[in-house]
Amino acid sequence: MADEQRQIQNRIGRRLLKKVLLFSFVVTIIFTVIQAWMDYSIRMSGINETIGQVKKVQVRGLITALWNYDMQELAAEVEGIHHFNYLNYAAVIDRGKLIAQAGQKKRKNVITREIALTRDYNGRQVMLGTLYLQADTALVVRDVLARIALIFLFQAATVAIVAFFLLWLFGRMVTRHLSIAASYFRSFNVAGMNAPLVLDKPAKDDELDTLAGAFNMMREHLAASYLQQLCAQQEIEESERRFRVLFEQAPDAITVYDQDENRFVDANENAERLFALSREELLKTGPRQIYPDAQPDGRLISESISENIKLTLAGESVALDRLIRCADGKERLCEVRLVRLPSGERRLIRASYIDVTERRQAEKALFYAEKKFRDLLETIQLIAVMLDCDGNVVFCNDYFLGLTGWSRDEALGNNWFDMFLPGENRETVKSVFKSILRDNAPLHYENPIVTREGAKRLVIWDNSVLRNFGGDVIGTASLGIDVTEHRRLEEQLRQAQKMEAIGQLAGGVAHDFNNILCAIVGYAHLALMKMPEGDPVRGNMEQILRASERATTLTRSLLSFSRKQIINPRPNNLTDIIRGLEKFLSRLIREDIEMKIKCGEGDMMIFADRGQIEQMLMNLVTNARDAMPGGGHIAIGTVKVRMDEEFIRMHGYGKPGAYAAIVVSDTGEGMDAKTKERIFEPFFTTREQGKGTGLGLSMVYGIVKQHEGFIDVDSEQGKGAEFRIYLPLVSAAVPDRQRDIRLPEAEGGVETLLVAEDDEAIRQLNTELLRNYGYRIIEAVDGEDAVAKFRQNMDDVQLIIMDGIMPKKNGKEAYEEIRAINPSVRVIYLSGYAEDIISREGLLEPGTNFILKPVTPANLLKKVREVLDGD
């Protein structure tokens, strides 16, 4: 024990001594060096001082001696100077000549100074010589070293003595008490906790007393907390038991895994039951044994388990779905929760398992059921929207987004009424929405919505309210069908049907009217023929015939509109037709109207009746003219257009294919929407009574339809009008262009023709005309005569021109008889009747050549040539 005490004393003391000595030594050295340096610099400046002193004191004597050439004095002076401190050499030199010197001259470690020796003589400075001084710095160094050595010696001694005294003092004042404390601590235990630590020294309230006091205080605290600890221990044990019961009786299966032992170290009864293992067996396994490798998260257990253990040990609680393998071979799906157990250094993980096999199956079924409906809503070609009670969009499907052009992010959460309803419908629809929420009615409703571009779409809705589990209304679900297109088509269809109906009606009226006209004209002619020249009634008769002529034209227009007009379509170049008509059209308009024609590039072959197309253009230009009483511009243009699905969808009419579009536009007064709707109706006119028939555009419409084309009009009140006509282009069989373009209006021939016409005047007119054009003509006055004349000239007659309706034998009967004689003979019928009337009477067969009366000479000549040239 005494030995240990000494050791303590020795150790601290010696260390203290060593450190004090070392420190003092270093400090001494530092101070000594500083002192040496200071000493050195003082002495070095001493040299300068010495030299200064020499200058002050000695130089005067030196000058006097030099002046007087008192060499002894000079030598003595120099000798005296050389004995000054550190001066090792002094000399007087005059003009390079050494006059006197003392001491030893050195080469190294010296400072040299030269002092000029001058004397004032006769008012000027006489240079007597130079005092040359050398100071030996080595001497300085030697002196300094000697002095420093001494100082160092003394200081070292002082330090040593103080250090040893300190050591002794330290032993007495500190180490001794430490030893006492040490031996006290060594014997300190729980039993002796009540005996205080007492030091062998008067209390001075120094650090040792503080230490002893602090220790004694700690000892008392310790005693107190020891007591507490005892109580706590008991409490912990009790709590431990409580937790054990909690653990064992927990509804979950629980295991405790020790990472270091790599096995379960605890498990409750439910775990035994779940895994179908006894506790002993369970404690031999670990998590790696209880999971099959394939897991619902798609990762292999061998990959994920370490990661999850690491996460858990890092303090996170991990929850996952895991398949576990039970001892009986079954696999169960469990919700597993992992959490690190607080357990000091040990790395314990508590896992709880809830068997969710059944629950998950149910959830899955629910999920798929829901998904089915969701998928249905998403893919359905109907609008599906759900709103909450405030009208905010909570769901909408892709179809809806595609229709409106908004993105889902933009649509969701926004107010339906503000975003998707046109302002004028907003309030009404809002109130409907409220009534749906309140009364679940009306279930069907129709209102427009606006798209992102601002277009309106008409939607028919099927609504139902949405309820939560409690049955409270939480919003509405609506399915909508976009009927915009549908309605438009309906409208178009309605329009078409209307036109059709009107056409039928007009056609019917025209037929009957035509019959009546024929009778009127016929009898009027007869009456006129039988009337002597100068008969006063003759003028009246002529008036009847003139009016009838007008009526005929009118009828023809109506027939044109109802597409009952007989047309002779053939491939025609639209450009040629327009170019050929240009002059005529320009005569049609007034001077204050400017007309421009701009045809598209290349041929535009259409299969059309040239006369009809001309008629159509004339009507359009006339209308344009009439719409511009104050003058303006008319533009006629053609362009090739391809109608595709897009075009048809956009315009709501058309048939895929290539078309020639004729555009006739004017800068006239235009028309309002109401007018526009009706312009094609026959007899619709805005002109004052008697000025217009209202048949112009009806005819145009009929012609277009008869050519399987489309017509469209764009116009606004005061902003002019633009009519667009689309006629199908024919690509193949471009006919002889020459003939088309310069179709000789009156091409004649030398063939023999049989002209059968009961009307004397007409017969004569026609025969004369044909004869003029070179044909040989055989005349027949009625049907019978026609047959008889044919028989006589059977071999010569190449073509018969026959009135359809004649006395004795009508055209058809005569034709039948002639055909019996020569079945290959060609016939052109002339008639005031529409084709179907004639065919209804059994006169015509399809393909029959036919000219409608009144026959213009050009038409007749043309037709004759056509038939003769045709095969």
């Binding site: 007087n68 050439y69 008192d70 002894q72 003589y121």
Partner: protein, 248 residues
């Protein structure tokens, strides 16, 4: 008349001015020549009343120059004259121009010196320079003949001036001192020293000259002529007679 005097003829004034300029230029360098000497009374005195002072002044006057005389120790006098600090130095033995190449001797003796041994010991007999050897001797620094001749004595003390020299002797620091007889006698008398005797015969007798710095070499001839003239016309003698204490 007065009136006339006041309105001085400008032509006359011009003439006077011209004469003035000629006179000034005639006076050699304008400034008086500075001559130094170590001689003492009766040869020279600070008041300029010594024999040599008077003679030299007269001689320079005769060649139309002015002089100023300063007193220096012997060696310093030589050095100053040689270095041109002073313009000349007197009086010196002949031949110094060999040692001091910048000195030019005026070739007419001003006086002669008897180099005599002074002592307090009447028993001493000196025959020639060699006879000095066993003694402690004192001389004046810069006396070239003595410095040359007196070598190998028991001790040789050089002092700066005559007073110091005879004090040396009086206080027994030297057995004997060598000095010019005339001046020595005068100093002994001036200092009131007793018991000092001048030994006979003298060690040497030398003619003494004035030396000029080389830059005044041109003056040397004219000075010598002036001095000769003074000798022949009796001016020298007259001056000698006017200086008290100077025996023939």
């Amino acid at each position: 008349m007065q009136c006339k005097n006041r309105t001085l003829n400008p032509r006359l004034l011009l003439r006077l001015l011209a004469i003035g300029i000629v006179l000034c230029s005639g006076s050699a360098y304008g400034k008086p020549l500075l001559l130094n000497t170590f001689n003492t009374y009766p040869l020279s005195s600070p008041q300029g009343t010594g024999y040599l002072d008077l003679v030299i002044k007269e001689a320079f006057r005769r060649i139309g120059a002015d002089v100023k005389i300063v007193r220096l120790s012997s060696e310093r006098g030589l050095v100053n004259a040689d270095r041109g600090i002073d313009d000349g130095d007197f009086v010196r033995i002949a031949g110094l121009d060999k040692t001091y190449p910048n000195l030019v001797r005026v070739p007419a003796a001003l006086c002669d010196f008897e180099f005599t041994v002074f002592t307090k010991d009447p028993s001493i007999r000196i025959e020639g320079w060699q006879g000095l050897k066993p003694y402690n001797v004192g001389i004046i620094t810069g006396w070239k003949i003595l410095e040359r001749k007196i070598v190998g004595t028991r001790s040789l003390t050089k002092v700066g001036n005559a007073t110091a020299l005879f004090e040396l002797l009086a206080h027994g620091r030297a057995d004997l001192v060598v000095f010019d007889k005339v001046e020595g006698d005068a100093i002994i008398k001036k200092l009131g020293l007793s018991g000092i005797i001048a030994l006979r015969p003298y060690l040497a007798r030398q003619d003494m000259y004035l030396y000029l710095n080389r830059r005044h070499a041109g003056l040397a001839r004219r000075l010598a002529e002036a001095l000769l003239e003074m000798k022949t016309d009796g001016s020298m003698r007259r001056i000698a007679r006017s200086v008290a204490g100077l025996k023939e």
